[in-house]
């Protein structure tokens, strides 16, 4: 960050002190907006959320029906290349912006509906992992002793497996399917959050305001959730945003090898997996789903990196 922008933030902050209070989140937003890469991430993310919400309006076809059952039925070859009227595709052919897949489904509609699944996968697995991870980490850090030892050694064992392999093993036990894949990815991501939470608890636990809460009669619940959790929130948010990115990648990988979402569900990873042997004859069926996964993951990575910088206390200190 150049000195000029630092100065403006400093000015804004001093104004804030005299006129109105500026809380951490306002500062964070401002910093996030200043970073070009984070803005790119936010724009992609916003577009994706819009596409996911407006999917029924944007998609020309039902993502799961074959073109033979469309209204009117279309005679079209399986895996035919994209046909876009604007780009010179004959008007008498039905328009398929991203072509049709091996089962005569409109690839473009499937791509649009896929955004719903991808976002859902990212948010639900990370929410699951954060909730369990913070509770475990908080217990380990707060109570210490043998409980700490047991919890953290279990986390160590979970971390001892490459995350994708452990997820594969868990899905094997539970049986393939989207829900089980989500559960597996959720379980695999728990240790990261447990560690972050435990570290925060250990640093905050001995501070004066915690002793003050205790002497004022606050119970364990008050101390854990009113004193310690807010202090652990920023690293958790950063970890969570970046965690969504890797959760989406892992879920796509599981679906790709057939352990996650099952056809005909429009999921990018399984769409790619179903057509992977056709990469030489119908590259569009492989290219678009993978590109969509990459964009989504990129958006979360950019926003996560931006948040990390924006929430960095050293930078907050430097600019206020």
């Amino acid at each position: 960050m150049t000195t000029e922008t630092t100065d403006t933030i400093a000015k804004l902050d001093t104004e804030g002190l005299t006129l109105r209070s500026v809380n951490l989140w306002q500062i964070t937003w401002r910093r996030l907006f200043r970073r070009r890469s984070a803005m790119v991430g936010l724009v992609i993310l916003g577009t994706l959320i819009f596409i996911a919400l407006a999917a029924p309006m944007l998609a020309p076809y039902d993502p799961t029906i074959s073109m033979l059952d469309a209204d009117p039925p279309q005679k079209i070859k399986a895996r035919s290349a994209p046909c876009i009227h604007l780009l010179g595709c004959p008007e008498d052919q039905p328009q398929h912006i991203a072509g049709v897949d091996g089962n005569l489904r409109d690839q473009y509609s499937r791509l649009i509906y896929g955004s719903r699944l991808s976002l859902m996968v990212g948010f639900s697995t990370v929410t699951f992992a954060i909730i369990i991870g913070t509770v475990l980490g908080a217990m380990a850090g707060y109570f210490g002793g043998w409980l700490d030892n047991v919890i953290m050694r279990v986390m160590d064992v979970l971390l001892a497996f490459p995350s994708l392999l452990l997820a594969i093993a868990i899905v094997t036990v539970l049986g393939p399917g989207l829900i089980n894949a989500l559960l597996a990815i959720g379980i695999v991501s728990i240790p990261a959050y447990a560690r972050v939470m435990r570290a925060s608890v250990l640093t905050v636990r001995e501070m004066d305001f915690v002793s003050a809460t205790r002497s004022l009669g606050g119970n364990t619940y008050d101390i854990l959730f009113k004193c310690i959790l807010p202090n652990a929130l920023t690293p958790l948010i950063v970890q969570g945003t970046l965690g969504i990115a890797s959760a989406i990648l892992d879920a796509a990988a599981l679906s790709f090898i057939g352990l996650g979402a099952q056809p005909p569900t429009p999921e990018w990873g399984s769409m790619l997996g179903a057509e992977r042997n056709q990469v030489f004859t119908a590259p569009h069926l492989v290219f678009y789903p993978g590109f969509a996964i990459m964009l989504t993951v990129l958006a979360f990575n950019l926003v996560g990196d931006g948040l990390r910088d924006a929430l960095d206390p050293r930078l907050v200190h430097a600019s206020s």
């Binding site: 001892a160 497996f161 594969i168 093993a169 036990v173 590109f291």
Partner: protein
């Protein structure tokens, strides 16, 4: 240093024990009757009863655990259900593919990633920095399987009949023979045992074997086959390494001793390479270690796409075929590797930064 080393080794024993238990549990909680999944649906009750007694499956669960641990320590992983081969032999035959692939991927990611990171830190905010970081951000966001398929499409189909053509699958071309070096040298292999396993293992590392037997055509062919999978697998670690090198270098380059070094008249290259780079190695070691673990996971996908029968693909096939003996053994081997890598990272950390040893 030795004391630190021993402490770290002892600290990883509980984790190893945990891994043993997890792999034991995976094989036990998998749904279905173990007898019929191994002997087939038509096995009669009497046959099953004998089978279960032979395998000790009717004993208490903790006895089974001890038997399992004992077997693992003897290096006996049982026989594969589907392939009816000893799993140890499968490991010796298929591990080399994965080792070669991961090593090549790591090599590419380090050789490309570190210079990129150093350059973009030195030329901070220049176009080369912006481009590198854009590439790095995209690189970490790409699904390995997609990148692999796209690389295969570009290099095997679009660039056909050009010198840049690369084969889309396999380890060596059909018709190319890969005689083990011990046979070429006229050694006679003992029937079994650690020594012969080791020799077979080494001879299956195609590039090493080609060099040992001075078979240059084979070497060229094997390298050509290795490029695409290695690039696909190495892209994510490459991006991570470039990013980490850049941020570590930026941290160090802003410090006073760098200015002092420059002020006393040292050349820029000397300062960057001797003073700054050495001090930014520490976080790099962590990233490289972590990437190695990620490589093992990514190997499942890369090997499936490029038709390589390595550890990852065998594991994946075993999972879909419900061959639990292989799943158990291969997961165990991978996890032990992972723990060993983490241990190495910790130890090199202590070696690079004396402060860690003392505290």
């Amino acid at each position: 240093m030795i004391q630190y080393f021993l402490r770290r080794v002892f600290a990883s024993i509980p984790v190893l024990f945990g891994i043993l238990i997890v792999t034991f549990i995976i094989a036990r909680v998998i749904p279905g009757d173990p007898c019929r999944s191994i002997l087939g649906e038509k096995a009669t009750a009497a046959v099953c009863e004998r089978f279960i007694h032979e395998k000790g499956l009717d004993r208490p669960i903790y006895t089974q655990l001890f038997i399992y641990i004992g077997e693992v320590f003897r290096g006996d992983f049982g026989n594969s259900i589907r392939l009816s081969l000893p799993v140890t032999r499968l490991l010796v035959e298929r591990l080399p593919t994965t080792v070669e692939l991961s090593f090549a991927a790591l090599l590419i990611s380090i050789v490309v990633g570190i210079p990129l990171g150093v350059i973009s830190a030195v030329k901070h905010n220049s176009w080369i920095d912006v481009l590198t970081m854009m590439w790095a951000n995209t690189g970490v966001s790409m699904p390995v399987f997609w990148l692999g398929l796209m690389l295969a499409y570009v290099f095997s189909l679009l660039l056909k009949d050009t010198p840049f053509w690369l084969p889309p699958s396999g380890r060596i071309s059909a018709g190319m023979s890969n005689d083990p070096f011990y046979e070429v040298w006229g050694w006679v292999l003992p029937e079994s045992g650690l020594w012969s396993s080791l020799l077979v293992f080494l001879s299956r590392l195609n590039i090493l074997n080609a060099i040992l037997t001075a078979n240059w055509d084979l070497l060229k062919d094997a390298i050509k086959h290795l490029i695409l999978p290695a690039v696909a697998l190495g892209t994510i670690p490459m991006a991570l390494i470039a990013r980490m090198t850049r941020s570590a270098m930026l941290d160090v380059l802003g410090q006073d001793y760098i200015r002092t070094a420059r002020a006393k008249g040292l050349g820029k290259t000397a300062v960057v390479l001797k003073h700054a780079f050495r001090n930014s190695l520490l976080p790099l070691v962590t990233v490289i270690g972590l990437s190695l673990g990620g490589l093992l996971g990514g190997a499942v996908l890369t090997e499936t796409i490029f038709g390589l029968s390595g550890l990852g693909r065998t594991l994946y096939e075993a999972i879909t075929a419900r061959d639990y003996v292989i799943v158990q053994a291969f997961t165990l081997v991978i996890a032990i590797f992972y723990v060993a890598i983490n241990l190495l990272v910790d130890i090199s950390y202590a070696y690079l930064d004396p402060r860690i040893r003392i505290s």
